[in-house]
Subunit: 489 residues, 2 copies
């Protein structure tokens, strides 16, 4: 009797979490501005009720009473995840959890103002407080057993450890720097010029989403400042943004979020934890796969270019090939979210090392801006003149997200592993993609990734899908081949 009770409780908890997700979606897309104060209160109440459900004292009793020898693998994972979230909810004292929630909400506001003013010192005290609080949280979560950073990382990438993650991510550095340097000396491809009106961009991006397999009966696209995906199952929504002087921003934001949403729409159950996404790294592998391996590929340009042309007859790009080159322009810049495939992981590596040092205490917040700028110069060859383009560019640390950044690079690594394996299974993929036929590609991911939910760890999931342990080599090979050809290296 206690398994059904536990599952019912997990379902209830998940449904409440979905409501929290929905009001957050609404806040970014629909809410009138004077609703902000009420929304903050609503969000707080929902978080408190969610915490109450996750820390329900009946959970360990139910779990103890279950005879685990007689249940499915799926339910074993449900139990494991119930335990995991129960531990998370109970190991961190409620007062500390609330202090962190408050400091994160304040941190984000202060960060926004500091960024506006291009003044790191405005933000430093809030960040200092957050680093300290997250260190305390890590201490509680790990019972002092693991190092603090790993305890934080574990919330986003279950089971990941710095000692394995570090060499994996660091192995990207040298090849990427070489590639970047070689490309820097080559002429740049043609850039998009002119104005791309909003409603045409939205029409095109809707068509793109549909073509990639996004089910509009189980989702919708709206506009927000920062694109994101939210929800799950039959209600997996995405947002995009529109810049009338840059049609690529909207298109590739959409392709990225569609990747996330396809994963969410493909979950085998909308509520139970075992059916949800494996890890943030795997989630990101899905978004990056559709954004880069598909939507930025040469074959896909065969489908996308004529669509672009029909939506924007005055476009200054003359052929699928020119289009393919334009959407894969490599250029050193300050901003991670605008970075191309070659630079992206170098941005992540910088954040990964700095946040490890912050959490470990070997770097102090007061020295963070100088350290960022010094290393940025060293790794990217550019002088950060405005902190808005430097350490204040990302929201993550301001809301207490430490240990999140490396999952971006894991996503890139995993997506290349999947791409390599899929090409073996589907030798004619390029032919299909050139015609905009994505069903088989989606089906491969559905079977190998989406339907597995949380049944396997991220590492084992990649191993089972590809037949090989995850490594950075497929990503390095993919980038070297693609960009050597593009830039005639």
């Amino acid at each position: 009797m206690s398994l059904p009770l536990l599952l019912e409780h997990l379902k209830k908890t998940a449904a409440l979490g979905q409501v929290s997700g929905l009001i957050s979606w609404d806040q970014e897309t629909m809410m009138p501005q004077k609703g902000a104060t009420q929304r903050a209160e609503q969000t707080g109440v929902m978080a408190a009720l969610g915490h109450q459900l996750s820390s329900d004292p009946r959970i360990p009793d139910w779990i103890d009473a279950i005879d685990q020898s007689e249940i499915s693998e799926f339910d074993k994972i449900n139990i494991k995840e119930a335990k995991r979230s129960y531990d998370h909810a109970t190991k961190v004292p409620e007062e500390l959890a609330q202090t962190i929630a408050k400091a994160s909400a304040e941190g984000q506001m202060i960060w926004a103002k500091a960024r506006e003013a291009s003044d790191f010192t405005m933000f430093a005290p809030a960040l200092e407080k957050l680093v300290d609080l997250k260190r305390q949280e890590a201490q509680c979560l790990s019972d002092g057993q693991t190092n603090a950073y790993d305890a934080l990382l574990d919330q986003f990438e279950p089971g990941a450890k710095t000692e394995t993650l570090l060499p994996l991510l660091e192995s990207l550095r040298e090849p990427l720097v070489s590639l970047r340097e070689a490309i820097a000396e080559k002429p740049k491809p043609k850039a998009f010029e002119g104005i791309y009106i909003s409603n045409q961009q939205l029409a095109l991006t809707t068509k793109l989403a549909e073509q990639l397999g996004y089910d509009f009966e189980a989702g919708r696209i709206d506009i927000s400042t920062h694109p994101f995906s939210s929800g799950g199952g039959g209600d997996s929504r995405i947002t995009t943004r529109i810049d009338e002087s840059d049609p690529l921003n909207c298109l590739y934001s959409t392709a990225h979020e569609v990747g996330h949403a396809l994963y969410a729409q493909g979950a085998p159950d909308p509520f139970l934890p075992a059916a949800q996404y494996c890890s943030m790294g795997i989630h990101e592998s899905q978004s990056r796969f559709w954004e880069n391996q598909i939507a930025r590929s040469r074959p896909f340009a065969e489908w996308l270019y004529p669509e672009m042309k029909s939506h924007f007859p005055d476009m200054n790009i003359a052929s699928p090939e020119e289009f393919y080159r334009a959407v894969n322009k490599v250029e050193t810049g300050f901003i991670r979210t605008e970075a191309d495939e070659v630079h992206y992981n170098l941005h992540v590596l910088l954040r990964f090392e700095l946040e490890r040092e912050l959490v470990a205490g070997s770097l102090e917040v007061k020295d963070l801006e100088a350290e960022w700028n010094k290393r940025f110069k060293q790794y990217f060859g550019l002088e950060v003149k405005d902190v808005k383009l430097g350490v204040l560019q990302d929201v993550h640390w301001s809301v207490g997200l430490f240990g999140y950044f490396p999952t971006y690079s894991l996503g890139n690594i995993y997506s290349a592993c999947l791409d390599k394996a899929m090409r073996k299974d589907m030798p004619n993929r390029d032919t299909k993609i050139a015609k905009g036929e994505t069903a088989e590609t989606l089906n491969w991911l559905r079977t190998k990734i989406h339907e597995k939910g949380k049944l396997l760890s991220a590492e084992n999931l990649i191993q089972s899908a590809t037949g090989e342990a995850p490594s950075a080599q497929p990503l390095i090979d993919y980038l070297n081949i693609k960009y050597s050809e593009l830039y005639g290296l």
Copy 2:
């Protein structure tokens, strides 16, 4: 100490209620169709958590510990309302509450199908069950003390009793029937012809809402099948509907919902119960006032007609006077929501008498269709040939709303009382309204109604705002004068 604890709890409860309202708004406006199953689960979880908060056993303890001699009138009402909702949540056993919730959800689905099929017998068993359940609920709520119908009525119109409501509403019957009969012999005004395209309707209705004082920074307009208003305070949203062959549907739905939303936007506090709307009758008085006394008035036609003309240059209506006559056309029809001011309350009276008899047991569900048709013929002179246009037209009973219908007529009665008093206070109102200047009108309602929240009972609120006890006479006078002039009686 216990008053702040109680108020904090009430705030939390209200915030949760707002979230429930928001996900229901989302369901009608934004949700993709495959989200329905998940949404039902989410709604159920939210309702259960809301019930848990309202029935928190600490509430009576907090209340008992408060020294009521030392607190404000406002907080006295907060306490009274906390007691009221606590009683409601605890007097009805949770099992019964859940059975009713389930029967209502099912009832609505069955009703929709039965209406589609024009078959009352499909719906009858579900309705029978609901009548029985609501009778049980009434029994619990009234501890067997009052009659069942009054216990149900009290949830929408606190303190209202059949014995006072009945003569008030019935006093409308004879004058309305006379008026209807007199008008029936007169020629009809010109009707709207042609097509009124969607986006122009939406642009015009947005302008109308703004002109009536609706604050778009604290709300938004969307499209839904049935127009409604939801939320409150800084986030008071409305919906409208668009029929391209009938521009009035959208316009007057908007004016109606704006009336509700102005009340919601004018609440002195977004959370505390004492600051919320007084009763459903008062709420409806606000929507009907803006819809009828303002937006359907001759002076307002001076402002609205040129706007119509500029949005629809081909419109076949030639002057403000012709417009005024067209929007006040009186015609006997089957559908309550499409009824004009003269017929509307006659529709309500029919429902009011039938639902009283159903709850009392003097009318059986199996005889309801025949009774409806018989009385409809008697009161309206029309034969109901399709039950879709008869007893299956309204959703209310299918979701267990018994005791709600009379609040519509109360709203009409109250709005005429307010109109009469306001005209005394603002002798030049017509001049202002003809220029589209509504600020003073809104301000009068803000001061006399909106800012009072729940401080007074509905009756006392009308008395305090108008200097007279509520009566049907102002409505009868208003209708007689308006329509005698319009139809040359």
